[in-house]
Symmetry: C2
Subunit: 452 residues, 2 copies
Amino acid sequence: MKNEVERSALMVDLYELTMAAGYFHHNYNPTVTFELFSRYLPENRNYLIVAGIEEAIEFIGNLSFSKDEIKYLKSLKVMKNVKPEFFEYLAKFSFSGNVYAVNEGEIIFANEPILQVQAPLIEAQILETYLLSVINLQTMIASKSSRIVNAANSDGKLRGVMEFGSRRAHGPEAGVYAARAAYIAGCVGTSNVLAGYKFGIPVYGTAAHSWTLAFDSELEAFKKYSEVFPDSSIYLIDTFDTLEGAKHATQTGFNFNGVRIDSGDLELQSKKVRKILDDNGFKNSKIILSGDLNEYKIDKLVKNKTPVDSFGVGTQLATSADAPSLPVVYKLVEVKKGNDRIFRAKTSPHKIMYPGRKQVFRVINNGRFEKDTVDLAEENKSVKGKKLLHQWMLNGKQVKDYPSLENIKTYVNENLKLLPRNLLDIYNKVEYKVEFSGRLNSLLKNIQRQHN
Amino acid sequence: MKNEVERSALMVDLYELTMAAGYFHHNYNPTVTFELFSRYLPENRNYLIVAGIEEAIEFIGNLSFSKDEIKYLKSLKVMKNVKPEFFEYLAKFSFSGNVYAVNEGEIIFANEPILQVQAPLIEAQILETYLLSVINLQTMIASKSSRIVNAANSDGKLRGVMEFGSRRAHGPEAGVYAARAAYIAGCVGTSNVLAGYKFGIPVYGTAAHSWTLAFDSELEAFKKYSEVFPDSSIYLIDTFDTLEGAKHATQTGFNFNGVRIDSGDLELQSKKVRKILDDNGFKNSKIILSGDLNEYKIDKLVKNKTPVDSFGVGTQLATSADAPSLPVVYKLVEVKKGNDRIFRAKTSPHKIMYPGRKQVFRVINNGRFEKDTVDLAEENKSVKGKKLLHQWMLNGKQVKDYPSLENIKTYVNENLKLLPRNLLDIYNKVEYKVEFSGRLNSLLKNIQRQHN
């Protein structure tokens, strides 16, 4: 199931292609390294869970321009002085470089490289827009989901979080990938059937208010549902009056799985509904809460001992509503000139970054992350720790297999156990220690001096 | 260029399909009407510009289930008691109903129907997730873009706004549709080449910091750019030092089109850069500003008489960052029973809605919208005004042509001239007068009475 909008080589900002044409014109195509990283963490994020690596590698490995796409590019006024050979080059384009990236599901922090492209300048340049787009979306959603899942289990009781946000995700494709990222990060599944079909993610669903409204009474609607789904009925009980709805649920003659409450004072109603269910002999029927939930509302519900078995979370998860983008960038950090490495970095005062292709070394002590050191990628005996960046592509060929989605999910879960506990605080900004090595600081100073 | 993720019939929440299976099981498939509307306007929005109608109609007209999709659905545990005939029904599915919607580009307000589906219940139900998804995304971006464009021209001077947000939009597809919505709503174009290719939207671009960093000096980088693009060079001048960058721009020997500043104090730097350009004989070279802009920053720049010719706006536009979703819903409002219309509405106290298929009547007086009246769709001589909802599909066939993107853009522009001026206020919430008719209020009271 190929997604042609997604995979089109034209999914770039125009300037990537004008720059490519410019480099081609000047026959200037040295091997360079670009790094993709998040400049800082949004206010309500203490860590990021990386997702989107598989989509990124797939795109790089399959990038090509169709005849129609090239014809369109030639027709643009801005391209009128560009030599025909450039378009012939695009027609034969295939990626020939190296790609390094962290594992999908890795926990990372501000300014740590997530993905690196080491390739001829033209090839590396035209990947920028797409790579930022997929890593931004999935990493943002995975990171938001992790907070929500943590809140749902903050008292040590396991409560599933189901991703219900497809209708408010930013379009159909964003809905599918949000479901994937949410699942990686700890959600038990999604309502999005296409995500189930495409990725094998468990799919969940109850019924909508329209089911109840389509019949002459709520009780009739519940009965009719259980006649078809006797083992998996979750009644949505807030169409008219939640407590009446709970009573109707107990009157269907079916041993229903649970009820969902989607509006009103969820804490108060859950407590009353639990009592109605228990008093009528439905102690095993579960309560599912939904309705514009986020990590704060869930944390409060859990802290106040609301009887709830699982949560359906939609809009705020699938749009990462409090931080609907990450400040991810894709920056040139070095250029190869003959046998020399020329280190590069922007030095405009508001946007400091370090030059050179890097590695992140993570020290884990007593079962917890202690600190990360970022250094040049080349071996340096004095820096200790687990290396986070791995080679995914060599000379245009993939050299590392994609882990299964289940393996990624397990990796996230294991990694989260190693995260310092204070970083799980959803209310306060807590900084994890990330050091940039002496070598990197010297290189940066050299570049700054050069430009003063 | 079909987009299979986008167009898949499985782009639904699971409950749409379990409800469909349930209705099928009970042989309960009356003609119903669902209405799609926004429950309220987000805090920083005084009006919405509807976009996404074409994508919605296309989806409805082409919806079908492939063999593999049906095989997957059959394999789901929840479907185990569903009769095989239901899957045969899906295999032959095609939409047979009526669709009514406003014009693409229409200005609408809270609770006014945007789109209505009048069809057999099963058909209408399974459209929900997709319709919400595309209308939410494009309407949200069009509405945000309109505020930004208004701010850019608030002193009466025309300044173009270019949509630059593909890298932070929620995935590649969202980037393309954000570009479309932004263009409809008044942006002059986009950086997204795929949006140019697919929709014919003008594409714009300058160069990135990486262009400057790839060469040995900024001056060399600028010269090299103009050698390839002599008629369309915009130099990005903030890689190292903006004022030095402006000086370098004047030293290339080329008559460059303009400069772009992407960081720092944009107002202060623009004023200094303008002087450098003017003093060196480049009075016609334009200044383009970018860097996390939104309507508030742009309004301040314009009010402070910053010399600026156009804006590139990315993240905050393409994610509608301050309101990254709209509270759009898709609700059952009536059911046909024999020759009777049974009016339906949810009455849970926090989410009031009106029953019945409706029409919006807009009164325009002295060149301005005066008020809207929402009434039942059926003719009522006592209600005056321009009808906003039109029939797009009849018995499954499209009966209204898509206007061209240029026509939609013109329609938006003409309509905005009729909008009361106080609704253009980007700082204050201003309510437009929308009345619900006596007939609708009676119907609602009847339903509320029934459930008390």
